[in-house]
Every structure is written in C-alpha cells, then in structure tokens.
C-alpha cells in the first residue's frame, strides 16, 4: 500500500484516472483452450494484465509425500514472467509467489471434487505475462476457466476481484497507477453460483462503512465476469447456445 497521498486520482465528478466510475472494473476478455498441448487452458486479459493458466492431469502425485490418500492435491504454481513488469523480475524462488500459489490452491480446492481422485495431483500453472495490478485475482479466474476446460469436475467456478481505496474513496479493481497510491486492498474469490467465498485477503485501512462498499463492489463484479468465462468456454468447446 502506498499510503495516503495528495495526488488527485479521482475528479470532482467521481471519475477515475482511466475514466472509470468508482464501481467499474477494467475491460476484461477471456479465452479458453489457448495452449494446444495442455489438458485445459485459458487466458484472462484484465486491463493491461495478461495472465495464462494451464492444467495437466489428474496424474499420480509425485513425490509420494505430497499424496493425500482420500483426495487429489492441486499443485498450483503462480509465477510472474521476467518481462511481465517494468523492472525485470529475476526468475527463481520468491516468497510472494509461494504465498499466492498456496491461497490459490486452497481457493480452487474448495470447488474441485478432489475426492474423486485419491493420491493424484492436478497441476495448475499460472503465468503472469504482463502485470498491471490484481494479477492474483486474474490468476484465480484464469485457473477456474482452465480447470473447467480440462474437464476437471467442480461444483462451481471461482471469480476473483479486488476493491480498494484511493484518496479516501472506495473504488473497485484498482489499476497500476491507482494501486501505487492505494490505501487499502480487498481481494475476494467468490463462487459464481453459490455466492460463497473461497479466497479472501485484505491489507490497508478501511472503516466498517468503507469495508461494506468494497465488499459490495466485488460482489457486483462477479456475475458479468462469470458470463465472460462461460462465453469463453462455449467458444472453445463448440457451444452453440
């Protein structure tokens, strides 16, 4: 969080630097089946974010110590490509990526019917090709589409969106510029149909009222993104509805 700043990010009419209103998300487009050799794949282009997910499996879990006797494990790897940011990222181990991989796996394990595949693993590879702000949310969303594309049984698909605060105003889906001056960040992962949460993080400073607005903004963004996910899957799987 950049903390409080006197840089004006919202004008007197409530319009943000990129022309959006407070509750509006960036332009989103989603495509499925973009990696020919994967069992399932998807890309989410969310503002300038470009995130790719591939799914392989289920397959035998190796090494054996990661096997669960009663269910499959989701082997999720979130990674930022070296050229995904303005300053190049050196490839290799990274605590931030590890944490995001962990919470992403746990979010998706909440909807995947892992009990159907004991001792297996399902590999979920999330690669951030271009980063703007909100890559973890785009990653979870992309992974949901890729899992569905791979034919992995799941009770719901997860959509992830974040809201935050700039200049004391709560806004939905901060872009890079806004994020630099952000005073709070509330990313959530929501099941499209049940409305249940499977992913939640927050940092910064929000009053109870602000928190409620941020929460509501996120919830309102779920349905339109879900429609795009369904549309992407139908386009790549011959749906003619």
């Amino acid at each position: 969080m950049g903390g409080y700043s006197d840089v004006q990010m919202i004008d007197e009419n409530g319009i943000r630097v990129d022309g959006r209103t407070a509750g509006e998300i960036r332009p989103v487009s989603i495509n499925a089946g973009i990696i020919p050799v994967a069992d399932g794949s998807a890309e989410v282009i969310w503002g300038t974010n470009h995130v790719i997910a591939a799914v392989y499996g289920p397959m035998e879990a190796h090494p054996r110590k990661i096997q669960k006797q009663d269910r499959a494990v989701l082997d999720v790897r979130y990674n930022m490509a070296p050229f995904s940011t303005t300053d190049r990222i050196r490839p290799g181990f990274n605590r931030r990526s590890r944490e995001i991989s962990k919470v992403t796996a746990e979010a998706l394990e909440s909807v995947v019917l892992t009990e159907l595949y004991p001792r297996s693993k399902i590999r979920v590879e999330i690669e951030v090709i271009t980063a703007e702000a909100g890559t973890r949310c785009a990653g979870i969303t992309a992974a949901s589409v890729a899992l569905a594309d791979a034919g992995i049984p799941m009770t719901d698909m997860v959509i992830s969106v974040a809201s935050g605060k700039i200049n004391g105003v709560v806004v939905c889906d901060l872009n890079k510029e806004e994020d630099n001056y952000g005073e709070a960040d509330l990313p959530m992962g929501v099941c499209a149909n049940s409305g249940e949460l499977v992913f939640l993080q927050m940092d910064g400073d929000l009053s109870p009222e602000e928190f409620q607005i941020a929460w509501d903004y996120n919830m309102e963004a779920i349905a339109p993104v879900h429609e795009m996910m369904i549309d992407a899957l139908k386009r790549s799987n011959g749906g003619d509805e």
Binding site: I35, A38, D75, A81, S84, R88, E125, T130
Partner: protein, 258 residues
C-alpha cells in the same frame, strides 16, 4: 524433464516412415511447419514477439538495465539470455530449478546472437567505465510440441529487432531503437528414423536420436553450432543439413525482418 520410456512401436514406425521418406504429419524431410511471427505482444517489455509453429508457441521479451561495464571492456554494454521452460508448456516439463535442457536452450540461442555481433556493444555504452545498457533477452515457452530451439531463436530476433532502448525512463537520453545490424537465424535437425529431419515434432524428438542446431548470419557465416543428445553423424550428413540451413535461414530471416 521427465523422460518416460520411448515406445518401441514409435521408433519402429518412424523408421518405417523414413524408408519411404515420409513423416508423421505428412511433411517432407526438410519441410518446416508454418511460422507465425507477431511482434509488440508484451506491454511491459521494450521489445517482444510471439512465435507459433504448429502447436509450439513461445514468447520473447527484451528488457534493459543499466550496468557498470566490465573493467576489461569499459566502453561495452552487455547482453544476456535466459530461457524459461516452465511446466506451463507441457506435461513433460517439471517444476524446479532450470533443467539442463532449459539451460542448454538459453545458451545456444544466446551464442548465435552474441557471436554474430548483430548488437553493437559499444553503442550501448552511456558513460565509459561507469554506465552502459545491459540487454536482457527472456525467451519463454507456452506450448511445447517440438523444436523449442528454433521457435526461441526466431522469437528472440523478432523481439530484438523491434526493441526500444528506454532512455527516458532511466533519464539517460531519448528513447531509441536498439541497433541490430544482422539477423542470425537458427535451424535445428533431429535424427528420426535413421536420417535427419528439419523442425521435428515432439513425437519425433521422443522417438528420435541426436540433434544439430546451426545458427547462420546474413552472409551465411556460421555463428553457433550445437550437437545434442546421444548419437553420431557423418560429415556427409552434416553437409546436407548445412546446405538446407543456408536456404531456410534466409527464408526465416525475411520473415523476421518484415
């Protein structure tokens, strides 16, 4: 890389196909897949390209950093290549530190470009002995259906040729195109069913033998060679593929330059 055993039937079939000079996907022995090159595909890179050859898809991104020149070459900039073959691109690539195969890929691509002298290192000097540009080339595999070498090398040159040195962002002058004076290109050959073929599919790589990578400059000068995997080849075999490499590299060069 996980290496499951090669099915004997695949090897036998590849040999049988070779007898009638055929290939798995109907291509001729020295016929490449269609190559699709797109540039400017990565918003955060100063130069970028996406290359697709059949089901093989790769990205290349060029970034710049300010470095202190090496003491023995105070007026020279730097060039570095790193190949990322992450498990996203195929079930046979595993997580973990870069495998020897990925490191070899990066180094062979790097050598061809470096040794061709296509980037004028002196031109990258900002302040002798103190400041120079370091060009960092990252090649990244999205989908591996064989011949990552050529896909990487082609994407690398397309990205470098469209790269802009970000002088303004680093407060060292204006933005300007990275001067790239030549276009070295790579052609790779695999022994499949006894003879060498160009632009192997993944199944041909699995069921095949040794491979040879040739990088040629604009004037057909040889800039890098690499023989990989177990196997032995004759001088006559090498002559034959070198002859093909000369014409194919020229075709690829036209594709990248335009």
């Amino acid at each position: 890389m996980a290496t499951p055993p090669v099915p004997e039937l695949l090897k036998t079939h590849l040999t049988k196909l070779a007898e009638s000079d055929e290939r798995l996907d109907g291509r001729g022995r020295f016929e490449g897949r269609d190559v699709i090159v797109e540039t400017g595909v990565l918003a955060r890179a100063e130069g970028s390209a996406r290359v697709q050859m059949g089901d093989t898809i790769v990205l290349a991104g060029v970034k710049f950093q300010i470095m202190t020149p090496y003491p023995d070459r105070p007026t020279s900039g730097g060039f570095m290549t790193s190949a990322e073959v992450r498990p996203v691109c195929g079930v046979h690539w595993e997580a973990g530190p870069p495998s020897p195969e990925a490191i070899e890929l990066g180094r062979v691509v790097d050598r061809g470009i470096r040794e061709s002298g296509c980037i004028d290192m002196e031109d990258l000097c900002i302040l002798p002995g103190e400041k120079a540009w370091q060009v960092i080339l990252d090649v990244f595999a999205l989908s591996d259906d064989g011949n990552l070498f050529d896909a990487f090398a082609t994407a690398a040159m397309a990205a470098l040729r469209t790269a802009i040195i970000p002088g303004e962002r680093f407060d060292v002058g204006e933005d300007r195109p990275l001067p790239v004076s030549k276009t070295p290109m790579m052609c790779s050959y695999h022994r499949v069913g006894g003879r060498f073929v160009y632009d192997a599919l993944r199944r041909e790589e699995i069921g095949g033998g040794e491979r040879i990578h040739i990088t040629l400059g604009d004037d057909n000068h040889v800039h890098s060679l690499q023989k990989g995997l177990k196997g032995a080849f004759t001088a006559a075999e090498f002559d034959e593929i070198m002859e093909h490499a000369r014409s194919r590299c020229a075709e690829l060069r036209d594709l990248v330059n335009n």
